[in-house]
Amino acid sequence: MAGMNRLPAPFGTWIDRTEKISFTFEGKEIEGFAGDTIASALLANGQTMISRSFKYHRPRSVLTMAGQDSNTLVQVGDEPNCLADKRRIEPGLAVEGQNYVGSFEDDKGRFTELVERFLPVGFYYRTFHEQKKSWKAWEPIIRRMAGLGKADLKADFHHSYYDKQYLFADVAVIGGGPAGMAAALGAAEGGAEVILVDEGAEPGGSLWYARFNFDGTHGSLTRAELAAAINGRRNIRVLSNAVCTGLFADNWLPVIKDNRLYKLRAKSVVVATGSIEQPSVFRNNDLPGVMFASAAQRLIRLYGVKPGSRAVILAANDDAYGAALEMLDAGIPVAAMVDLRADVPNTEMTQAVRRAGVEIIAGHAIQEAIAGPGKTRITGAVAAPVAGDGKLGNGGRNLACDLILMSVGYSPAAHLLHHAGTKFAYDTSSHMYRPDSVPAHVFAAGSVNQAYALDAVLADGRRAGWLAARDAGYSSGAEPPAPADLGCDGVTHPWPIFPHDKGMDFVDFDEDLKYKDLINGIADGFDNVELLKRYSTVGMGPSQGKHSAVAAVRIVARETGESLNRMSVTTQRPPYTPEKFAHMAGRVFEPERRTAMHHRHLELGAQMMPAGVWWRPAYYGQKSARDQAIRDEVNAVRSNVGLIDVSTLGGLDVRGPDAAELLNRMYTFAYAKQQIGRCRYVLMTDNAGVITDDGVAVRFHDEHFYVTATTSGVDAVYRQMLWWNAQWRLDVDVANVTAAYAGVNIAGPKSREVLKRVCEGVDLSAQAFPYMGAATAEVAGIPARIMRVGFVGELGYEIHVPASQGEALWDALMAAGGQEGISPFGVEAQRVLRLEKGHIIVSQDTDGLTSVWEADMAWAVAKTKPFFVGGRSAEIQAKKPLTRKLVGFTLANDGDPCPEECHLVLQGEEIVGRVTSAVRSPSLNKVVGLAYVHPSDGEPGKQFEIKVDGGRRITGVVTKYPFYDPDNKRQEM
């Protein structure tokens, strides 16, 4: 039977008795059935204590059996804080209790209860507000005590697969109880596409376990009818075992099911989320054996588990009597009904209970639950006469029992309505908050909307569904009427709160807050419910006030004399239930870009590096030989021939009658007279005159420029061109063709020879194809744009081809250069090569303030253009003295260490600049670099101080650049 407390079929509609499953709890083997939750299996096997409370480490057990509370949080393997009353058992699960010191059964932390008077409400405020130094002593203690489950940070961490999916609906119905099912049908009948979200294994909600008539058949018959109707509709999709955790703007709803977060967008939403049973406050109301009546009914009906062997039921409504009949059907004697009401109404249910011979003690409350040994289970209840709101008279009776069921009222599960901005009003007749004004495109139905009688619930649901469908643009038939009588009066007691002199009368189970704690908080001056929440932490635990928010409001109202009509529960924020970070994060999409030659680099042993979202080869060879590999690549380019993949560099086709004019306005230089077949440097500044990008403009036609840009800057350059031209309206078209062209730079004294072998249709000689020339031709049969540019300072050609033929180009050039021993080279070598020539890299050697004057690039500014972006600012800057200057430098003492980027340049103790690039040049065998220095030190030969690692100061010498081949003979050969 998998447990001594198991009931026979037909109890246990959600378990499969043909499949037994074993797992462990605290090392002990437990047997359950498929469909059991951890909590139901534990209770079935007589394991009552499931967790320890946060502060006092009091034993806790099932309270709601619906995942609404935190009394049954357990550790499952390496996953902390799992809801035992929701989590299904699986073979081999290793479940542990949480929050104990020593062992679960003999938790040393329980002795905290003995010093509870020294841990008053507002402990943190009181202790650390005035005695900040005491934090040092308290911190280690609080850190040990804080939290519930454990995250093992040393575990062999693995990623699990979580992902997301979009869903679309005309009408989303949240909650698959009777109201939600009726709403889904009401909406679908009009033709709307409906998605019904329900947290149960199958829709039905309370129809699965609650008692709607004395013989208990009404619920299941109604559920079967509704389920058949829903299954017969193609336009209703049911998401079961799914929780909607929020309702955001424009009806965007996150729904979590298993490892997936659904992003559901609906034209209209019906919130049919039901209501949450509310506890009574009495001494020891938190101990194992005290639970909601609905929890007991769920255990019996859904899981076939006896919640106890002898029950006392605290009643204030008809549902309590339904629960009593349920106990009797399951063979559990009911010692007494302790009814808060002095006059118990004569209903079908109360009559049935009387007929069954159960004693009804009217006008009484539970004063105290009697704790058994170790407080692991109650052994009795003390019932006392109600003498007024919160007051009990003498003459209490001891009732032997191991189970107290509370059925004293409800509060709407209105969180999603709160998220949507619904205003609530307190109904003095039903003693509950009801939705008063609901925002557009949102509808409430069922007990969240104050409908409690089943007929009213169904009618309310159907009507809400019809209205939601009409709101989404679908309607059929006449508008269904609103139910005349919601049946909400007499369901909730206005004051089920009975404080005890000896305390342990809990208002908030999560935070171990007792009645006195709230009273003292209010007395301390925190007499507004929002302030009281933060001061006392009421409602701040994992269940976020589901069972304490309403009680807190009632207590504040009573203590302050404020009317409940003018109050509200504290602001409800998403998520409605705990969400894992994995749900937020998964599936992670991290686009990356690879050039056409990517795999060739890997095959050649490249160490790849990220350049924005691109991957580029940093160098070729082992990591352990990095520096030598880079030096070898530099030497290969300087003395032989090298090949680098430059596909990532930005490319823009600028075409049209005003193409040259656009370039004139966007860049500092002049382009109107640039000849076809020639390249010209481009330097871009922003409105403030700050350098933002650079590249080369190649003129292929009088109305066509091909403009290159930096890898990381091209998208911004493209945007800027479009943005500016939206104002200028020049007749020009700009296309960002970066990815469409793969590019290489073949460079070195032997590059011409190698290229000649595969290049047709163009004379590559120095005379016919001089430095800064350009041509279109075929390279290895591939149409190519060829430019002679000199970033690395050697004879070289940049070749751009259609991207899909980039790998073929690479292969052809590597083959063509085989006899010379052509060497692939990477970004690191390129950075050295360009530095030896003194070429700047924008945003390495420039920053967010660098002007053309600081960068010593006046040569790149056209003198006679009427306008370029940043030109006016450049004019203004030119008239002001510089505050720093970018210079080339070498070291006075070449034995000094090579400075690193951002090492400071000092004048005395004042910071006047920094090093932007520096390297020990393989070609020159000395350190060369670029740095910002004080303008007074800006002339060649001047010395300046650099502070390197360890605080050491070395001397730089301003040096003209290019450092290598200063006459540019090699690059122009």
Partner: protein, 242 residues
């Protein structure tokens, strides 16, 4: 004309950015448009046409595709016999089965038919010439779409549901008529998705940055797994059209 030999894609100049993945999956290649397209997967147990009807992904990147943009584009293309409607974000089927996708009032993306002859696109590329001197007529400008965009095709009844895992647009057939273009985000990157059913089978063209082809292919392959999807060759897609 495609020739059916088990081709090594690296012997041709035009190469799909994911040819290695396709080869590793057992593709049999054929030459189309100077490149190697995965035509079929001979080792597959299930018929590829069946997979394509349920949930499939294919790479068409080497097939001819191109485009034009700029002032005068639509007028010029129309003068060349291309059928283009008045609304943007609509794709129009041409006489030879090619697709003219109007992305914007002055931007057209052209996709060849699955036969891959490239007749229309080739004709248009040849016809477009710079006029000898200014002032030149407004006729748009060719865009290098063949090499800027990878081209995948997603087919099968589960296509829209699969896309919902990587894209926030409602691509369900009832909400996305044939020829609809979504210029959107898929797997966190810019993508153009065009509904282009194959016979009675729901299908979409997926066009995105060629440099992210491997990344996007991996994402979609992962997404189709839930629906028992698989990669298929061009032959399977052609068979659905017949």
């Amino acid at each position: 004309m495609a020739s059916l030999t088990n081709l090594d894609p690296a012997t041709l100049k035009r190469r799909s950015f994911i040819y290695r993945k396709l080869a590793a999956a057992g593709a049999e290649f054929a030459e189309v448009n100077g490149g190697a397209v995965a035509m079929r997967y001979p080792e597959r147990r299930e018929s590829e046409a069946l997979t394509a009807r349920r949930m499939a992904l294919a790479d068409l990147s080497v097939l001819p595709h191109g485009g034009f943009k700029g002032r005068g584009t639509v007028e010029w293309l129309t003068s060349q016999g291309v059928q283009i409607g008045t609304d943007s974000n609509k794709a129009h089927v041409q006489a030879g089965g090619e697709l003219a996708a109007r992305l914007a009032p002055t931007e057209i993306f052209l996709l060849d038919s699955l036969q891959g002859t490239g007749r229309l696109i080739g004709k248009l590329n040849n016809a477009w010439q710079w006029a000898p001197s200014a002032p030149r007529p407004q006729q748009g400008y060719p865009t290098p779409r063949q090499d800027s965009h990878a081209w995948f095709m997603v087919s099968g009844e589960k296509s829209a549901e699969m896309f919902a895992k990587i894209c926030g647009i409602d691509l369900r057939p009832r909400h996305c008529p044939i020829g609809t273009i979504a210029q959107t985000s898929a797997a966190k990157m810019n993508a153009i998705i065009i509904r282009a059913d194959l016979g009675s089978t729901l299908a979409f063209h997926l066009l995105a940055d060629i440099a992210s082809a491997e990344y996007l292919w991996t994402c979609v392959e992962d997404a189709i797994a839930e629906y028992d999807g698989g990669i298929v060759g061009l032959a399977a897609l052609r068979s659905l059209q017949a």
